[in-house]
Symmetry: C2
Subunit: 711 residues, 2 copies
């Protein structure tokens, strides 16, 4: 699925780029950039994907490729029919405000709507009448009203010489633009930085806050196949929630909504996905990608493996542990699958060769213009040098730390560092302890939280064991952390004897300040005090290098926009995009994966696994099987460009009719994060005909089906 | 499927190892070898697979692994219930001589049984009564009566000093043993060389020659999914033919036949495959495997790619060509899939590391015994040196030749070489022209054969173009073959102006002998005459090296048997083997491939491809769908060790009951040719319950179903 632990991280990043501001007229910078834009035949690079913004649709490219280029009315209609949920995408699909999104996007509301006698995640829910629709507390949907380029105004306000001055000025002007816009328009205004600051655009949203649950199927059919089938295809999921937007207590009648296609997605037809992709890394330089491929991701994968081994070890000796850790295990397994997929793309020599060819061309374009060369010519090498230096002490950075999976270690490190950092001026503190950070961390430390000592012992031991393997034998950390003892012995002693898990003990240390922490004889506090200087040494060095990389990455984005204009789409920013693609089968597993699946396949996969979890069918699907036309299209794949955040996006045809509902990517598509390719990567969607078939014949939902089909 | 172009090549090789002979008593050499046999825990190596001979079943290993070791009665019963077809495996499955094999194994009989009004490949066939069963002309089945070790007698007869003397003596003693056995037993006796001559065993077969067709489904259901699904899983094929053995015009009642399992294959159960695997390469040394991986197979794959490009080019300009070349294209695509699979195994660094570890241990065992070291110690290095030298001129060997895909080139080369070789004494000729070879080649050259000039032009041009890419620029071949012109121009001229395609012209040159060939001004003859010395230079050198490799490979086999005895099974020889395995799902495509499929999946795959060829269902399967219980198991996978020749093998449980019918390997299993692994490689079989369900409810075949179920 496309919202997940890693995707939530991506969204956190994306949201950092989404800040409110106010409108300004089409800027000189944007006009200049548009004039500079290269003709698409020469410059469109498939590896940058197709996440186009609505203010720069690639009409020539579409016309040339598909013989189809929509007019402004079509684009406006599609944009206004699309909405954004807090962490997903969605769309209006009826004249009475019905909103279609994924089951996992509406899951909180579906769970919260359950009563003492009912569990709608387990049983599904379909409101018989409008009166039965259930209010979703806290949920809202945002509808994008307009986009305007404010690059000149943002740039004009940045006059400082140092990055710190510039950053403060940027934040200030963005806040000012946002406040003005909010006041003038009564809309929710957000400034979006595209191309890492190559363009700043104001996105103005209308927010709807009365949202109600209309229909959600059983979790077991929405997420049929569970963790194994997650991120794969062929697929058989009804990953659907239907909500309704209300205004003044009545169903809202949106002027723009998507009509329903009678045929649904058909093989080889052009389709568009309209939604809010969260975060991509296509602007990464080769040296950044090589670092991730060779160092960053392998280390993450090793950590996931350690975590899974711990859960497996706990489950081996404690039968209830398997159930207790189920969600954690799923989260780690999902991240493992995603990161493995990202890395597959980076390991593909052909993809990397394409990326390298692009980078060479890009650098040549910059070098050809003396002004651009002066501004941006040095960025690639600056990043590469910083990455190289980072790589030289990555094991130290990773293992001289209080990370890993241990909660106790993190709590103890917080206590020691709060004490040290509190006594410094704000600007001299470690970054997380600056501004409101310090008090947030204090608050976390003051809260009671259960400590799973069996898990803690294994987690600390595993982390130290890995450190032994990764660090040179003479690294001072090993001496300080182990004193010649085994990781398992050290971990057992620390966990057995520390009081850090006791919230009262933590509160007393917080109150006692630096003196109390320094005087503490708690073995874990003592241990952290001893290790901390070694950890700080490498963290400080890494922070400086990461700042260089961040500053130069921003320049790369600006250089890209200067050289190519909007011929290449910007990286994803959890803002509205339109991606073109084709409904298409792909080579898989030595044969062909078909462009669609049908309900036959759902029953096949369940029967093939003897109806065992996670391939168990909900009772309704067993009892009512004969109601269904099993040959009805159920899921399908297309070559559109999506990523986490696109969950719930509508798939539409050239008539702007709904043909499907995006809910996942196949395993081959995961590597599209860095280098897009439609050779085998695919977007996976629920087929519009499958939705109607299920509504009518499984959920007694003809009322709803009639509404979306306009009957 | 498991008989195929490449498999037929494998079978040709296997048959070279199967020659008739006569029984002798259990030999001293065998007793000595058995005494030397190492205990299995220390020496069983999974990478050698599980193709066990019936005279050396690994009872301890089975007992330890599965808690099951059959007694001699069980083994004899299973052996006598199994039979061999000319190129497939099969088994008796009823008391009245019913024989079960694959559809593709009985295909010739099914096609030949069709009448003017009927095409049984298209419509399927099920005899209503015994009287309706159709005689299969020329078909026979062989039943293995007994095995006896004759190593001493063969070895004792080999006293010569030179390989040529030894070879002649070996052939003579084998022929003598066979003739004696045939006369004494009235059986069909064949001496089999196992472990490349480590053991010689006499296999005595009873041959049945009155074979009749009882039932065969439509080709489209037997080979559902066609070329794309070939060598893959999940799968949905009813790859079945039922034959009946007759004796004296009446159904034969075999004393031993396999009973039918009521439950069929069940997840995680122990199952055995009993059949005749054709050829494996597990005795190859690391240097041989590296040569195939880095040089041999890449060159073959490049050649397949060239051939497919030619067919595609022809189809582009000529709409009828696609149909005309369909079989050729399928053959090349099948080889391409197989060779790609073989190479995947060789590219797997983990598998190769295991193989390397084994080779080191093997060599250490030999080195530990001075006698063995003296006999075999030098073989690995001798092979490696020869492979290395071969590698040094592989491009010359491949492109200074008359091979490739052109028939004209092969004909012209035959004419020129017949003329030259005829004038030499037999032993001085190129190997193919020795003995009866010369006349065979003359006969081929004298036969009319259509020449496809469009194809020829493209094939010769592609071959020359590839030579340009592969040979150093100063290779004399390029000068002689091209004279500075483009490959396309040379090919066009040669094909346009040669008369070699004309059988009368060829016959005149054959009659005219060397003088006529030397005087010919036919441009293709002139071209071959010019190239031939360059070709002979590298061929002669390669022949000498290949002879060294062959002689040393034989020694490796003998050394293996000397060091490990029958703890490791010998390479496949198209003789009866029993392989243990487990019915088991496997990780695939980011998720799990289930251990079985059901009829739901057949309808899913057809519907997902909109019932398009090769996923089109026969009319019967559309019309009678509702007769079926769609949840019935249809195909399944297990970890047994199979290869081409195993087609039609029964899969049996520990009660010796039929639970399935082998028909293919998954794509991951193809690489088992060299290094066996059951991590993801699987045997694909038709499930016994699927067979009965189809017989009863699709083919009005309750008569037959009752018979195999013993009702």
């Amino acid at each position: 699925m496309l919202t997940s632990r890693s995707v939530l991280r991506a969204l956190a990043l994306a949201c950092a780029l989404v800040v409110s501001t106010q409108a300004s007229a089409q800027s000189a910078a944007a006009r200049q950039a548009a004039a500079k834009q290269q003709p698409l035949p020469a410059t469109y690079r498939p590896e940058f994907g197709t996440m186009w913004t609505f203010d720069a649709p690639p009409l020539d490219y579409w016309r040339r490729t598909y013989g189809f280029a929509p007019d402004q009315k079509w684009l406006d209609h599609v944009r206004l029919s699309s909405v954004r949920l807090p962490n997903c995408s969605a769309s209006f699909v009826s004249s009475r405000g019905l909103v279609m999104t994924n089951h996992h996007c509406g899951r909180d509301c579906t769970a919260a709507s359950s009563t003492a006698d009912s569990n709608y995640i387990q049983t599904g829910f379909a409101a018989r009448t409008v009166a039965d629709e259930k209010k979703c507390a806290g949920l809202y949907v945002d509808q994008l009203q307009s986009i305007q380029n404010v690059t000149d105004r943002v740039r004009g306000a940045i006059t400082g010489k140092t990055p710190a001055e510039q950053g403060a000025q940027r934040s200030a002007i963005i806040a000012q633009i946002q406040t003005e816009c909010n006041q003038q328009t009564q809309l929710n205004c957000q400034v979006v930085s595209l191309y890492n600051g190559g363009i700043y655009s104001i996105y103005r949203y209308r927010r709807f806050t009365d949202i109600r649950l209309v229909m959600a199927p059983e979790g077991d059919i929405a997420f049929f196949g569970g963790d194994p089938d997650n991120f794969t295809y062929p697929r058989y999921d009804l990953d659907l929630t239907l909500l309704r937007v209300y205004e003044n207590g009545q169903p809202y009648s949106p002027p723009d909504y998507l009509k329903w296609s009678p045929a649904g997605a058909v093989e080889n037809e052009l389709v568009f996905v309209v939604g809010n992709p969260g975060s991509t890394g296509r602007l990464n330089t080769i040296s950044q990608m090589e670092y991730l491929r060779d160092i960053g991701y392998p280390a993450s994968l090793a950590a996931y493996k350690r975590a899974l081994a711990i859960y497996a070890e706990l489950a081996r000796t404690d039968t209830s542990a398997a159930r207790r850790y189920q969600n954690d295990v799923f989260g780690v397994a999902n991240s493992q699958k995603a990161v493995t997929g990202y890395r597959v793309g980076l390991l593909d020599t052909l993809s990397m060769a394409k990326k390298r060819a692009f980078e060479n061309e890009f650098r040549a374009r910059i070098a050809a213009d003396p002004n651009l060369q002066a501004q941006y010519g040095g960025t690639w090498d600056a990043i590469a040098r910083a990455q190289q230096e980072l790589a030289s002490f990555t094991p130290q950075l990773r293992y001289r730390s209080f990370g890993g999976n241990s909660a106790l270690l993190q709590l103890a490190a917080g206590l020691v560092r709060v004490a040290t950092e509190s006594s410094k001026p704000d600007s001299a503190r470690l970054p997380q302890y600056r501004g409101p950070g310090l008090n947030n961390i204090k608050a976390q430390l003051s809260q009671a939280a259960p400590i799973d000592t069996a898990f803690e012992r294994l987690a600390i031991a595993a982390q130290l064991r890995a450190a032994q393997g990764a660090l040179p034998a003479n690294d001072p950390f090993l001496q300080v952390a182990l004193h010649g003892r085994t990781p398992e012995a050290v971990a057992a002693d620390l966990v057995r004897n520390t009081r850090v898990g006791d919230v009262a003990f933590r509160q007393s240390l917080l109150q006692g300040g630096e003196a109390a922490v320094n005087a503490s004889t708690d073995p874990l506090i003592v241990w952290v005090r001893a290790v901390d200087p070694l950890a700080r040494e490498v963290t400080t060095r890494a922070n400086a290098l990461n700042a260089i990389i961040a500053a130069n990455s921003e320049k790369i984005g600006q250089a890209l926009f200067a050289a190519y204009g909007t011929a290449l789409p910007p990286d994803a920013t959890f803002t509205l995009r339109i991606s073109d693609g084709v409904v298409k089968s792909f080579p898989s597993n030595g044969t062909i994966a078909p462009y669609k699946t049908t309900f036959y396949g759902l029953y096949e996969r369940s029967a093939a696994f003897d109806d065992k979890d996670p391939f168990k069918l909900p009772q309704r699907w067993v009892a009512r099987k004969n109601n269904l036309d099993l040959a009805t299209p159920y899921n399908f794949v297309s070559t559109n460009d999506i990523i986490g955040g696109n969950s719930g996006s509508p798939v539409i045809n050239r008539n702007a009719e709904v043909v499907g509902l995006v809910f996942d990517s196949n395993i081959e598509g995961i590597s599209n994060r860095f280098i897009f390719s439609s050779d085998v990567g695919r977007t996976v969607s629920v087929h519009s005909r499958g939705i109607v078939e299920a509504l009518r014949n499984m959920y007694d939902g003809s009322r709803i089906a009639d509404e979306i089909q306009g009957r």
